[in-house]
């Protein structure tokens, strides 16, 4: 991987395909409509437009990274390849039974998500490995050959192999693959001991079958994309963003598509974290609010929180992913009064089509965006883009009829109510990622992006006592930007459930050394020099008998009994931080060993040329804006005209090409040298 030449980041969202290019330190942004049926077409269109606008030379592109929703969409729509499963005798239904809970307790119409592999494609083989990795029943190889014969006859393009306790001993899984291959099974094979070598058979099997089912989908898509960009003359390799916030090569993504399920959101968090870091903020909560939903996540010390229990489309996919929490509150969320006389917002959304009433595309239901308009926060004359027209009278009439009259309030008060209710549900989401995980929001900055995030962030920050809000210059394309600044990451893990006291430091070292060697080889294959290479080792520990683990970093250097004691102390400390208490006398148990191999990517300098001028010259107009029932004459600034270092005090509205920022009364704003708006929230 080379970082010379132009850098291109392409993120495909549901509505827009965003491109960010950095050429000789100059950052350019291009947005085109997404083409969901053939996403690569939107990429090509975006690249062509970028070339027209910037004169970029495709043969000069040295780095090309992509955030993809192909795997995500395939999961959400259940549109994947025919897949078979080979598993331990007696357990073919483990995948279907799952954790035996029904998804909704009180809804009789509740359904589980479709089982990834249908029952008639789940094959059992006699074998058994015990909890220490010892073979208690040898693999019945004749049975495997029999399965191979049936697989060869069946129309499957992918096979998952998931045997009990394979994280302790993968010999049976590997032997199954050998036999299948030697018996002429042509479908590609995914082993659970490769994809997720961790305890809990349902989650491991599910993750492995999803990986298998997505492989052909990902392979086809990446093949198309690679040939499209090659046709344009781009010679650099294609890099893909994973759910953990790191970049991998397209070839690795082909074998591990399940690692890309949160590709886009992860890139957004990476972008937000990067921009905040430039402003000196390392602890932050990110908030990405678009038309239908709001994604929030937390970054501590510059590292996004990574979880291994994230659900995608109701499937618990246990590979490491940036812990993004989503609520159904977006600009298009519909406000309504329910039959118990409460004002509700969402979960239904007007989406992009027909969209809010103010889009003038036939929307007839009051939405959050409409409420923002009525309160003066959005400019009806320069609304979002030139293609959209706004009819304020129509918005008012609908608000009056549907909300204000039934509530016995003014239109403005009803609109304020819509925002209050929407903010309440977003506040709940922000609490989930912070307070529920043991973090105090007062220690964090809030980075707002997406089309609607900067409209809400300053109010939410005030509610949660978050001291500072940052709105990046590229708030509308932060995911694409994130692609350009993210490191290469490979995660390695294996479960070893043992008493921590009894663990031999040598065993730890051997496993970690093996992970490091694999990581080193992988990074070297991608032409990353040793100086760019880092290894982060950690262990998941818990109190013996518990079953939720905390990940604890392992200090650098050799591992001896002193290191073990240090790690144990760190575990107690982390437990106390997260849950408020620790049991220092209780025995500690090792569950999983992890190593993250990091290839550090050189980041481009995003400092923009200083904008020179007077703040006053950036004022476009003054208009009345409502804040919690008060109407204030409010200055409206054009973002691109704000000089570097500009400082002013709210109330204010800052209008930019991609989003509008609301600054509440008495909050102060500064524009930093990267063009980021930094809002001091105050009390």
């Amino acid at each position: 991987m080379s970082s010379d030449g132009a850098r291109v980041g392409v993120d495909i969202g549901g509505t827009f395909t965003d491109l960010v290019t950095v050429t000789d330190g100059t950052l350019d942004v291009t947005k085109t409509s997404s083409t969901p049926d053939a996403p690569e077409v939107g990429v090509t269109e975006g690249l062509e437009r970028t070339r027209e606008a910037t004169g970029i030379r495709f043969d000069d592109v040295g780095f090309f990274a992509h955030g993809t929703t192909v795997a995500t969409n395939a999961v959400l729509e259940g549109d994947w390849a025919e897949t078979a499963l080979v598993t331990t005798e007696g357990f073919r239904d483990a995948l279907e039974i799952g954790r035996q809970a029904r998804p909704d307790i009180y809804d009789f119409q509740t359904e589980k998500p479709p089982t990834v592999v249908p029952r008639h494609r789940r094959y059992e083989v006699p074998e058994r490995v015990d909890e220490r990795g010892d073979v208690s029943t040898p693999l019945d190889e004749a049975a495997v050959r029999d399965v191979a014969a049936r697989l060869a006859a069946a129309d499957v393009s992918s096979v998952a192999v998931s045997l009990l306790f394979s994280y302790e001993n993968d010999a049976h899984e590997r032997r199954v693959r050998e036999i299948l291959e030697s018996e002429g099974v042509e479908a590609s094979v995914s082993l659970s001991s490769d994809v997720l070598p961790e305890i809990r058979e349902y989650e491991r099997t599910l993750t492995t079958t999803l990986n298998a089912a997505l492989k052909p989908v990902m392979d086809r898509y990446l093949g198309n994309l690679e040939s499209e960009i090659a046709d344009l003359g781009i010679r650099s390799d294609l890099e893909i963003m994973q759910s953990n916030g790191g970049i991998i090569t397209a070839d690795v993504a082909r074998t591990r598509p399940v690692n890309t399920l949160l590709s886009g959101p992860a890139a957004g968090v990476q972008g937000a974290s990067y921009v905040a870091g430039l402003a000196g903020v390392e602890d932050l909560i990110t908030m990405d609010m678009g038309g239908t939903s709001c994604d929030v996540s937390l970054v501590e010390g510059g590292d996004p929180m990574v979880a291994t229990d994230v659900e995608v489309g109701e499937y618990p996919v246990n590979v490491p992913m940036i812990d993004v929490h989503t609520v159904g509150a977006g600009g298009g969320s519909i406000a309504w009064i329910d039959d118990g006389d409460a004002l509700r917002v969402g979960p239904r959304s007007a989406g992009a089509e027909p969209g809010p009433i103010c889009y003038g595309r036939g929307g007839t239901r009051p939405t959050i965006t409409d409420a923002q308009l009525l309160l003066g926060r959005l400019n009806p004359d320069a609304f979002l883009s030139d293609e959209l027209s706004v009819d304020v009278d129509r918005v008012e009439a609908i608000f009056e009829r549907e909300l204000a009259d039934p509530l016995g309030k003014s239109v403005e008060a009803a609109a304020q109510g819509v925002l209050d209710v929407a903010n309440a549900s977003m506040e709940r989401a922000l609490r989930v990622v912070s307070v529920e995980r043991g973090h105090d929001p007062r220690d964090f900055g809030l980075v707002a992006f997406g089309g609607a995030g900067p409209l809400h962030a300053t109010a939410l920050a005030a509610e949660l006592d978050v001291p500072r809000v940052l709105v990046p210059r590229t708030a509308g394309v932060l995911s694409a930007l994130g692609l350009l600044i993210s490191d290469v990451l490979y995660d390695y893990s294996t479960s070893r459930v043992r008493s921590w006291e009894a663990v031999d430091p040598t065993d730890l070292r051997v496993t970690f050394d093996e992970f490091v060697a694999r990581g080193r080889e992988q990074l070297a294959d991608e032409n990353l020099s040793a100086s760019q290479t880092r290894f982060e080792r950690s262990v998941d520990l818990r109190y013996a008998g518990q079953s939720f683990e905390l990940s604890v970093p392992v200090p650098e250097g050799p591992i001896d009994s002193q290191t073990k004691a240090t790690i144990r102390d760190r575990f107690h400390a982390r437990h106390r931080q997260r849950y408020g208490h620790a049991y220092e006398d209780e025995p500690v148990e090792l569950v999983t060993l992890r190593t993250r191999a990091r290839g550090v990517v050189e980041t481009p300098d995003l400092r923009q040329d200083a904008v020179i001028g007077e703040v006053a010259d950036a004022v476009a107009e003054e208009r009345p804006v409502h804040f919690d029932g008060d109407v204030r004459d409010t200055r409206v600034y054009r973002r691109e005209r704000l000089p570097t270092g500009a400082a002013f005090t709210g109330p204010a509205v800052v209008e930019g090409a991609e989003s509008t920022v609301v600054v509440r009364p008495d909050q102060t704003v500064e524009v930093d040298e990267y063009g980021t708006l930094v809002v001091e929230v105050g009390q």
Partner: protein, 579 residues
Amino acid sequence: MSDDPVVDPVTLEVTRNAAAAVCEEMNANLIRTGYSPNIKERRDCSCALFDADAEMIAQAENMPVHLGSMPFSVRAAVDRFPRESLAPGDAILLNDPFYGGAHLPDLTLVTPVYHDGELVAFTANRAHHADVGGSHAGSVSADSTEIYQEGLRIPPVKLFEAGEPNEAVFDMILSNVRTPDERRGDLRAQEAANETGRRRFAELAERYGTAELTAALEEIKNYSERRMRSEIESLPDGEYSFADVLDDDGAGTVDLPVEVALTIDGDEIRVDFAGTADQTAGPVNAVFAVTASATYYAVRCVTDPEIPPNHGCYRPVTIDAPEGSLVNPDPPAAVVGGNLETSQRVTDVVLGAFAEVVPERVVAGSQGTMNNVTFGGRDPRSDEPYAFYETQGGGFGGRAGKDGLDGVHVHMSNTMNTPAEVLETAYPLRVARYELRADSGGAGEFRGGLGLRRDITVRDHTATFSLLADRQTHRPYGLFGGGDGESGSAVRIDPDGDAERLPQKSTHALPPGTTVSIRTPGAGGYGDPSARSTAAIERDLRAGKLSVERAREAYGDAAIDEIGEPNTDPENGGERPDE
């Protein structure tokens, strides 16, 4: 708007969100800090927020059987410790089924919340503890005839006083249970969860002020009540009844009737269990809190499940249960299975009565049991004692427009299973088989869900095994022409292959190498089997969820012949008959 709320609709929705968030934070905290797999893996626990009058405001939803019954615990705690006897930092523990509890393993902790020196709310949580003493490891005994055999009975006592643990109470409890370290860990987690809720609620009180917050809490209840009344109003007035039976009580009495008469009158519902069996010797008596909980659950499901569950929701529902009956026993009745088994039958009959009122909103008879299984003994790997308790899913009833769910927990339970890899690592047991039971779902236009089979083998030691199950003689009912689900069974398989069926409520010593095979009931079908689509029959045949023989019997030769030979063969092994 018929009513004139004092709290405006925006504040209502904002505070309701905040109250729900308090419970969710408590719940997240409890599950993460809980000690035993029971709490952490299975999530056999629940959290709720109550106002200063001990009326429920919000709950975090894990376990239906807890949520309707927890209000009785908070009420009992407050009756025993009126507000003048409470102080900040206190926490009241209880489990006595005859004093606010449900059954002994469920320990409820109630914590008063203060703001500016005034008691403003209670946080409460309930967790199922893997052992609370009594005659058998796991405290889910199948053969108790008095509550004294079922474990330690804890009336409301202060577990914490002014923030300090009451060591005497801790000692008393921990001396009476088989796995004291685990119990202490779980109790600490319960305390931490309430403390989380207390802190969060105090923040709300700070933000809104006590007076405004109190008014908002009242309005949250009124809001649910309004929505519930409007739902009931839309149901046709009349009297509806249904009867079913509990198979046996484990102490020799069989076929215990459970009967209900439902009166819908305007915007209120009266539920009367007259005609139900008298309380019985075996451990299946359901205390009133449990009966109420099962009834509320059924009402909630057939009205609008989106109505936020709280005290207001249940105001329009009146429940009469004859005193001294199976569904409202007097002490010292044995009750451990009332919460687990009889609660399911109560749900079955209330839903059965609703079938005539709202046929499209009910489901056919579901597995109707929790299939409680307890293993205990000494782990030969560590020489430490262990107790392992779990419950098994089964068939969920056929529904209007959809087949029932296969292999899930039904109605009053929704605990997660223990993964085989976790179970085998933690306990000297081996899961030999875990699968769906072919042919167990009742036929119907929409068939009943399949039961499960779970085989567990004892490794290298002799284990005590208790089973507490039902629906092994009387089958889950079908509705509107649908067939009944298959009943369950439990089989003991010795190392030499000898097999013997076990009574559904019984306790045994299992030598090393013995396997118990639990087969859980399938559910009843919904609608006439002749209306079932050929595609649905073919799908089940191909998946091996239905045998050709059974298909012919249930859906007729003509339907099966139409599908044709190649498409009726399961492509992969097919059903495995229960051996």
